[in-house]
Subunit: 352 residues, 2 copies
């Protein structure tokens, strides 16, 4: 079982090698776009950047030159300027601004890869999903872990019974949000722009990955949050338990303070799979599987799940397939996370 597991790591289990390329407008030019998304699209098999949408096209002229793209501002983008130059948009702006930018893309018949969470509130996210459905365009929620080959193989291994029955999961993601040169006015710390704090921004990683790996939906949650200092507008940290059917518990936590760290563990009756550096972008994840008396350590698989994400999305666009992390997937997490917030506020377990 381990041999097959290893052999498959580098493979794209979804790639049918279609012809064509998807031309992207990247809507937003913040750190993630500049450092991770643009290089990923540039190196992708099925994607290319043609358009940059930014609040200051002049200031981003270098970026446009680097990617041989044209920079336009948000007003021009929403008006449909250059809409014939791209097939799809990647929306990577503060959460509260997802809806107008996605709706504009849908209006122009463009496919959409939208960052998570889908918007700052469930109600807005539902409108976002409806806008894409009404327009008949593909919508993918940017859950890059679902396109990480190591995580996909972990899912296949778990669902193939490699760990026996799953008993429980553990997961945490500590992302020191202010360590990246951001100040206390960063949008992630503003409730109106972000909608939620550490839970929405990073707690969603163990939650979504658990739902992905188990392929089941939570039945109840309980959680608690804390805030302090510059994080007083949103949850600085959160600890929450997600109950899945048959008494499978997920013990998860997330924080905007603390040294960067992330782990995801699946405990089964026959073994344990432990993913280190689980959720950090573009990090070589270390996967340790102990099962059936054997141990497998997979280090340095060297995958770039951000590029995989863009290629997977573009592949869906080219083939007309619905992405696994679709709009409903994004809404499902928002429902669970809002229940966690309600539990944190009321002190009561919330059934789902």
């Amino acid at each position: 079982m381990f041999d097959t597991f290893l052999d498959d790591v580098a493979a794209r289990d979804w790639d049918t090698h279609p012809d064509g390329t998807v031309r992207f407008a990247v809507v937003g030019t913040g750190g993630f776009a500049r450092h991770l998304a643009l290089p990923a699209i540039d190196s992708a098999d099925y994607g290319e950047v043609t358009t940059l949408v930014t609040g200051s096209p002049d200031a981003r002229a270098d970026l446009a030159t680097e990617y041989d793209a044209t920079a336009i501002d948000y007003e021009a983008y929403r008006d449909g300027t250059r809409a014939d130059a791209y097939d799809a948009v990647y929306v990577v702006v503060p959460n509260r601004l997802h809806l107008p930018n996605v709706a504009a893309a849908a209006d122009h018949g463009k496919h959409v890869l939208c960052e998570k969470p889908l918007d700052a509130t469930l109600e807005r996210a539902e409108r976002l999903v409806a806008a894409c459905e009404d327009a008949g365009v593909t919508l993918m929620t940017a859950y890059r872990m679902q396109t990480d080959p190591v995580v996909r193989r972990l899912r296949a291994f778990v669902q193939g019974g490699g760990l026996g029955d799953v008993v429980k999961l553990s997961g945490d993601f500590t992302f020191p949000v202010l360590s990246g040169g951001y100040g206390p006015d960063h949008w992630r710390l503003a409730a109106d722009l972000a909608g939620g704090g550490a839970l929405y921004d990073v707690g969603v990683y163990p939650l979504n990955t658990a739902r992905f790996v188990l392929d089941t939906e939570p039945t109840a949650v309980e959680g608690t949050t804390a805030t302090s200092g510059p994080y007083s507008d949103v949850d600085e940290r959160v600890a929450f338990t997600v109950e899945f059917p048959e008494g499978v518990f997920g013990s998860f936590s997330a924080s905007f303070t603390g040294a960067a760290d992330s782990t995801f563990v699946v405990h089964g009756t026959d073994g344990t799979a432990r993913l280190e550096d689980a959720f950090v972008p573009r990090r070589d994840r270390t996967l340790r599987v102990e099962a059936g008396g054997a141990t497998l350590t997979l280090e340095g698989a060297g995958t770039n799940e951000v590029r995989e994400e863009f290629d997977y999305f573009a592949h869906c666009v080219l083939t007309g397939e619905r992405p696994e992390p679709d709009g409903e997937d994004g809404l499902a997490d928002l429902r669970v996370m809002d229940a966690v917030y309600e539990s944190a506020a009321s002190g009561e377990r919330r059934s789902l």
Copy 2:
């Protein structure tokens, strides 16, 4: 900081090298006594076994011969037979039987090392502690992690600020209770004898270790439990969140099913300390500390925390010092765990 940390690992930070030896009666001859405790006392600097208390002295004659001890039954023990042959007792019987055996020891003026949890209910445990206090004998709760040199150094490192401010903790302990040759009639699965299931038996490890490392007391808990099959009398598994002051959360879980596994992680503002094989008896724990841009991995420290536990206890008896894991420490965990059970039953967070 790392250098000092490493240098100190092998040292007993509590040893004042007193003269003398404490003679033990080991009350109970189950698996933990036979495989771990008796060899540990036998190899201890400050302890020796003189007396075995067992339900079947004849059947345990080989054991008595092996340790040059005398085997007596429980009735004889409680009557004080051979009481002049030992100075202290180690009580390692089903939880519900702790109180009568500890009370007997206290009656005879013997010091007590009692397994955790102190009894099957908080009320009985309080009587157990009172019996020892009234008799003026030393009582230690057998939290062997508190005498593990690696855990003690981890505590010193954390309390010395090596990780900055602590943000949160993660911990889990999966102990497949029926994998050790025990059947479904094992006392750990009987509510009247055990008092609680996975939480009482193994969930207490991350809880007590967190309280030990942080040196603070929880302010609130929330938890959820599940049972199934042969575990229907007690919690087969539990997930619980412990809130410490200043928004420090502990995300803990424990299970009687699943592949054996245990981890304990302290997340701080300046680093992360991760203890693997954290709670398994006599296992070489691996400690990975990432802090201040450096990484330390401590493997194969090769400590035997069970022997350390008996030497630490005997040292307390010889010097008259109060053990750190005293009776109050054991009661504190029972109060927290009972609150977790109440939260699991009511679905409501419980303040402490």
